[in-house]
Symmetry: C2
Subunit: 201 residues, 2 copies
DNA sequence: CATTGTTGACTGACTATCCAGTCAGGGGGC
DNA sequence: GCCCCCTGACTGGATAGTCAGTCAACAATG
C-alpha cells in the first residue's frame, strides 16, 4: 500500500472518530504510523488533503457499485438503495456515511469541496437516469417516466434516508423509509404486468 | 428583544457565515453588540448554547408551518415541500438550511444534539402522517396508503432535496427534484378521480 | 430625600491549550 | 553525492473558558 493510500485510510478513520468539525491534522496523523509532517509533505494544505479524500470516496463508491452493471434495472436500483442507505457490509455500517455527511455540510463554505460534490452528484444522477432508460427500453418500466426527473427525486430520497440513518443513529426509522421508497417511488416505475415481488432492498 | 433572543440571532448569523466547523464563540460575539463573555454568562458551554439554538430552530419551523393547518391535505404537503426544500421567502433562502445541515452533521458526535434531532424527526413525521390520514378520511387520498411509511419516504425525499440545494448551491437540480417528488411521490397518493392540476409546489 | 447594600447584566484582560504549517536535518537507495 | 521520504522541534495565531471588577437598577434603611 502506498503512503497516499495510508493517508486516505487514516483520514477516513480520523473523520469517523472525530467528525469534520473536530478533524485535525494531528488526529489524522494519530491514525497511522508516520508523522504529521508527512501529511504536509504530501499535501499542500488541509483543504488539499480533504478534497483528495473526497475524490477517493467517490471512486470507492463507483467501484463498489459497478460490480453488477449487467443486472436487471430494478435490481440495480434496489441495490443502489441498499448501498446508499444502509452501506455495504464489507465496512463499518454508517462510518462512510458519517464521514460523507460531515464533508457535505462543509461544502457551502469551501468552493473546492463544493465543486467535487457537484461532480459527484452529476455522476450519480446520470447513473440512475441510465438505469431508468434501460428499464424503459427493456419494457420493464413505464415509458412515460422522465428519467432525469425520477433520478433527481430518487437520489434525494435515498440520500435523505442515508442522512437520517446517520444522524438519528439507533432511533432512525430506516426500515420504514426503505419500505416507503420501495412502495412509493420504485413501484410507480413499473410497467403494467411487472411486479416487485421476489425482490428486496 | 431579550438578550437570549439576541444571542440566538447572533448564533444564526455566525453559523450562516462560517459554518459549524468554523463556528467560534468569538464569531458569534462578533455578530451582536455585546461581548463574548456574556455568552459564557448565559450558557455554561458552547455545546449548551448550540443545543438551545437547535430547539429555537425547531420552534421557528413549527410556527412557520402551523399558519395554515386548515388547508387541504395535498396543499399542506405541497407547502411543506416548498418550505423545506426552498425555504420561506421571508428569510434568506438557504441560510436556515445551511445552518441546519451543519448542526445535523455534528449530531453523531454529540449526544445532546442527536437527542434534539430525534425529537425533531419524530415531530415532523407525525405531522406528515397526520396530514395523510386526513387526506384518506376526506377521500382525497387512496385508502391503502400506510401513513407512517409514506411519511418516512416523503421526509427523506424533501430533506434530501434540501441538502442538495444547500450543498450544490447554484448547480443544484432543485426544480427537477421538486418536479420528481411531486410526480413520483405525491401523485401516487391521490385517490381515483383526484388530480394535481391547479396546485403547485 | 439621601445613603447604603444587593443583585444581575455585562466587560476586558488573561490563560492554558491546541491548531496548521515551517524548517533544518536524518537516512536510505540509486 | 544526490534525491526522495520522512521526522521532531518549533512558531504564531486562534480558541474556549475564567475571573476580577464595573455599572445601573432597585430596595431597604435612616
Amino acid at each position: 500500500m502506498t503512503t497516499d493510500d495510508e493517508i486516505m485510510e487514516a483520514t477516513f478513520a480520523a473523520l469517523c472518530k472525530h467528525g469534520y468539525a473536530d478533524l485535525t491534522m494531528q488526529s489524522i496523523a494519530d491514525e497511522f504510523e508516520k508523522s504529521k509532517s508527512l501529511l504536509h509533505y504530501h499535501y499542500d494544505s488541509k483543504e488539499d488533503l480533504i478534497v483528495s479524500f473526497m475524490e477517493h470516496l467517490l471512486e470507492n463508491f463507483l467501484e463498489e457499485f459497478d460490480e453488477d452493471s449487467d443486472a436487471e434495472p430494478m435490481d440495480q436500483l434496489l441495490r443502489m438503495t441498499e448501498i446508499v442507505v444502509e452501506g455495504d457490509d464489507s465496512e463499518g455500517p454508517d462510518d462512510v456515511h458519517m464521514a460523507l455527511l460531515g464533508l457535505r455540510a462543509q461544502a457551502p463554505y469551501d468552493e473546492a469541496l463544493r465543486a467535487q460534490q457537484v461532480r459527484n452528484d452529476r455522476h450519480i444522477r446520470e447513473l440512475i437516469a441510465d438505469i431508468v432508460r434501460d428499464g424503459i427500453e427493456q419494457g420493464q418500466f413505464r415509458d412515460d417516466v422522465d428519467p432525469e426527473r425520477f433520478a433527481a427525486a430518487f437520489r434525494s430520497a435515498i440520500e435523505g434516508a442515508q442522512s437520517h440513518d446517520v444522524i438519528l443513529g439507533a432511533d432512525a426509522p430506516t426500515e420504514t423509509a426503505l419500505a416507503g421508497i420501495e412502495e412509493h417511488l420504485l413501484r410507480g416505475l413499473l410497467a403494467d404486468g411487472e411486479t416487485l415481488e421476489g425482490r428486496t432492498a
